[in-house]
């Protein structure tokens, strides 16, 4: 049952009593094949001026649908079946498009989810921001100047140059800042940020969230953050709203929710947020790494890419003399931000790319410069799990076909033995045998990643490359997949090369950690040493970016058992 915002709700210290957004008893459903499938049920939620509210929940919890409803931008088939939406005191539940449009941009602004697809690829960034500026009634000639100002406020460096650029010329973090510029350009009273940083590196994520928090604090704008990560919510919100299956299960001040969660589900979310569960510290799962034989070794590997003519530099040094080794049955965590060379290192280790210098040894065999006929038998012994389970499975293959594909490719066994192996693998990755006949579209993200893992394990490899295997997943699903990987390693003795931008995630799996920055390894060693006593600034920066820490640290400093939960930390 959902609880109405009763005694637990912390009323914000508001000068203006009218909330900018007030949802009361809101229910939303999607039309599917003549039926109404409920997505949001009986939600009460209010955001007062200047307040920061975080809505936390897994995919499918209805949090994004709620955000879309506030903007009047429900996807096709979405209908409000009960309740009311009030914006700045006006009921807009059944308002026509014309009325809603007047509110968008100027009263409620949106920072969308994925910066890589959120900008029009064929329009200059300045023009895209200027469109939002013009909504305030700014004169056509003044708009470009104001667009530059918005870009600057959003923390975009060199706004004059950026305004003339197109989205594909910018990194993900910069694109997200441009999207923030668009959202604030109309000077809205409320910003709705829908998973604003889930697609970004942790360090970039932290900078952007800090900037966003600063912006709203300076201008008195209210902020509604939608996130799956309780850590993100705890660090920044005045109030946390936990949603599950379309209903609000709990809401209150972060300290209250985190210290004394009333609901089982909230406790679960707390457990899976890496930093929150260890009082703000990143704790490695493996305290020590017993000696074991090497399965993969990169020996002083370097890689240069030729740059197009015209630039000052002729070559780009993607990797500079990096040496790594992965030991049998153990995990090497390779950590770095995007552009640090992680993916290049992975491609070289798999023999998909030739290194410019150095050698790659797989189980003692030098695969540098090896041809297809040498690599092909070796490929049986090392497999890959991709970052994005939504695109790494053939949509036309059933789960069983996907998992059996490596077996078919290497002519292992006959039809019956393959089917048996598929059942065994499904069991190992904890998927019901009935899922064998399903197609990827019928599975959730976590289930798809389980299928991808089963496929990688089909040939019983000695080494599995894990390329950001949980970055595309919810925090709670991340936890399940990481536990699964850990269990499989214990049971099967498989080695992992685990690539990630998130030290908190790496900590849960790695025996050894190597931190990569701009093509060089800045720090490496046993996980316990690197994570507990980092010697390099960059490692500390990566550690500090793990969400939830700030709050956990504050709690740890303040909390003696039974002490009153900390007041909302924002000024005012």
């Amino acid at each position: 049952m959902s609880t109405a915002p009763a005694d637990s709700t912390v009323r914000p210290p508001a000068a203006d009593p009218t909330p900018i957004v007030a949802l009361s008893g809101l229910s939303i459903a999607y039309r599917q094949g003549g039926q109404l499938v409920p997505a949001v049920e009986d939600v009460d939620l209010a955001v007062a001026p200047g307040e920061t509210v975080a809505v936390v929940g897994e995919s499918g919890s209805g949090k994004t649908t709620t955000a879309s409803a506030i903007l009047g931008l429900l996807p096709a088939g979405g209908v409000v079946t009960a309740g009311h939406i009030e914006i700045a005191g006006t009921d807009v539940t059944a308002a026509p498009e014309r009325v809603l449009r007047a509110l968008r941009g100027t009263v409620v602004g949106l920072v969308p989810q994925d910066p890589m697809v959120g900008l029009n690829p064929t329009m200059r960034l300045g023009t895209q921001v200027a469109e939002a500026v013009r909504r305030r009634g700014v004169d056509r000639r003044r708009a470009p100047a104001e667009a530059l100002e918005a870009l600057e406020r959003a923390g975009v460096d060199q706004p004059v140059m950026r305004a003339r650029q197109y989205p594909h010329e910018l990194s993900g973090g910069l694109r997200q800042r441009v999207l923030i510029a668009i959202a604030i350009a109309g000077r809205p009273r409320l910003l709705v940020a829908d998973e604003p940083t889930s697609a970004l590196d942790v360090t970039v994520q932290r900078r952007i969230l800090d900037h966003l928090a600063g912006l709203v604090a300076d201008s008195g704008t209210a902020l509604l953050i939608i996130t799956h990560d309780l850590g993100v919510a705890a660090d920044r919100a005045d109030r946390v709203v936990v949603m599950r299956r379309g209903r609000i299960v709990e809401q209150g001040a972060p300290a209250q929710i985190l210290l004394r969660p009333r609901e089982q589900y909230t406790r679960h979310l707390l457990e899976v947020a890496p930093a929150l569960s260890h009082a703000g510290r990143v704790v490695p799962a493996h305290a020590e790494a017993p000696p074991a034989p090497e399965v993969l070794r990169l020996d002083a590997v370097g890689k240069d890419f030729r740059l197009p003519r015209g630039g000052a530099e002729r070559v780009f040094r993607a990797l500079d003399e990096i040496s790594l080794s992965v030991r049998a049955g153990q995990t090497l965590g390779l950590v770095g931000e995007s552009g640090s060379g992680k993916t290049t290192a992975l491609r070289i280790a798999m023999g998909l790319e030739q290194p410019t210098r150095g050698r790659v040894l797989l189980d003692g065999t030098d695969i540098t410069g090896a041809g297809w006929s040498t690599l092909r038998p070796l490929r049986r012994r090392f497999q890959l799990v991709h970052q994005n389970p939504y695109s790494s499975l053939d949509p036309r293959f059933t789960v069983a076909q996907s998992i059996a594909e490596p077996l078919v490719s290497y002519r292992v066994g006959d039809r019956a033995s393959r089917a048996a192996r598929v059942r065994e693998l499904l069991d190992q990755v904890a998927l019901p045998a009935a899922h064998a006949g399903r197609r990827p579209a019928e599975l959730s993200g976590g289930q798809r990643q389980r299928v991808a893992i089963a496929r990688a394990l089909a040939l019983s490899p000695e080494l599995v490359f894990l390329d950001e295997p949980v970055s595309a997943l919810d925090v709670s699903v991340q936890d399940q997949i990481l536990s699964l990987l850990l269990r499989l390693q214990n049971e099967l003795g498989v080695g992992y090369l685990f690539i990630s931008h998130d030290l908190a995630v790496v900590a849960q799996l790695a025996h050894h950690v190597a931190v990569l920055r701009a093509g060089r390894i800045v720090e490496s060693g046993p996980a316990a040493a690197v994570l507990s006593a980092p010697t390099r600034e960059h490692t500390r920066e990566l550690l500090g970016a793990v969400p939830g820490q700030r709050f956990a640290a504050e709690l740890a400093a303040a909390a003696t058992p039974g002490a009153t939960p900390g007041a909302p930390r924002k000024e005012g």
């Binding site: 931008l73 959120g118 064929t122 197109y166 668009i182 959202a183």
Partner: protein, 316 residues
């Protein structure tokens, strides 16, 4: 950009040369004798000639030379715009083409805008009409257009607008009135294909994440369509447009036959039936040139409309 253009131009020349060569080879493998054809066109028969006279005649046309020499000769002349004499009509191929080409170009010039207006118009309607049955109808309509054979559409139009209503002449190539029906017929398939692709493309683009960003700014549906959807949705249609333009000569064969218009299409039909090798050779070259030119234009337009392509062209 200059480098890119030069490269594309060289590529275009290569394609033209390849087309010329392939046609030359094919036509020379065919079991036909140009002298016989030419004589019969003049009302004579090859059996009336003495072997010596035949040999003379062949020597005059260079037909005794090895095929390689003939090819080099023909190519050299073609490069200078000389495609030789027609075998069936006693005039030069160049003058034949010059005589017929304007009429076909005229037809293309009218049917191309019709095609664009029809295609874009229908696709826009399909996006903007909210009433479901009408929307479905509009989305299905192009499929009907694509599946109707051109000659059938032509005959239907003649039946309706010439014979029943007497609005436009059924045949001939004089005056703008005679252009209307052939142009409509010629544009119909292209317009339908464009509409089909664009309707789909509009729908897909409306589902892009950046459209939500645009809507969240508070822009109206019309503004979003005009400023954000149109350009992005057009990109796949450009490729199709290039292909459709390239098919002009092929299309004109049927349309000019149905409406008895005096153009390249009709010439093609006559030349092929009469095995008039030089004429066929020249027409194939023109068709290939049309195709190459259309695609070059499309590629340039592409880099103009899509900064990502311009980027790749500029650096690569």
């Amino acid at each position: 950009m200059a480098r890119y253009l030069a490269g594309r131009f060289a590529q275009a020349l290569l394609v033209l040369w390849a087309a010329y060569t392939v046609v030359f080879v094919i036509l020379h493998v065919l079991p036909s004798d140009p002298i016989t054809l030419q004589l019969s066109a003049g009302g004579a028969d090859i059996s009336q000639l003495t072997p010596a006279a035949l040999h003379d005649l062949k020597a005059r046309y260079g037909l005794n030379d090895p095929v390689g020499v003939q090819y080099v000769h023909a190519l050299w002349h073609a490069l200078h715009g000389d495609f030789g004499m027609s075998l069936t009509q006693n005039v030069s191929v160049g003058s034949l083409i010059a005589d017929k080409l304007p009429s076909t170009l005229e037809l293309t010039a009218v049917s191309l805008p019709l095609m664009l207006v029809g295609g874009f118009g229908l696709a826009h309607l399909a996006v903007f009409v909210r009433w479901r049955p009408a929307r479905t109808l509009l989305a299905r309509l192009p499929a009907v257009g694509v599946s109707l054979p051109q000659f059938f559409v032509g005959l239907l139009l003649i039946q309706l607008f010439s014979f029943s209503l007497s609005w436009f002449p059924a045949t001939g190539s004089s005056g703008w009135r005679s252009l209307v029906l052939p142009a409509v017929t010629m544009s119909l398939i292209g317009a339908s294909m464009l509409a089909q692709l664009l309707t789909r493309s509009f729908d897909d683009t409306w589902r892009e994440a950046y459209i939500v960003t645009a809507q969240a700014k508070g822009l109206s549906r019309g503004t979003v369509q005009r400023r954000h959807v149109l350009r992005n949705a057009c990109l796949p249609a450009l490729t199709l447009l290039g292909i459709l333009l390239g098919y002009t000569v092929t299309n004109s064969v049927v349309v000019e036959a149905v409406f008895s218009r005096n153009g390249i299409g009709q010439l093609t039909q006559q030349a092929v039936l009469g095995q008039d090798v030089p004429v066929v050779q020249a027409i194939v070259l023109i068709a290939a040139a049309g195709f190459v030119l259309a695609n070059l234009l499309v590629d340039l337009l592409y880099s103009l409309l899509d900064p990502r392509v311009a980027h790749a062209a500029g650096t690569g």
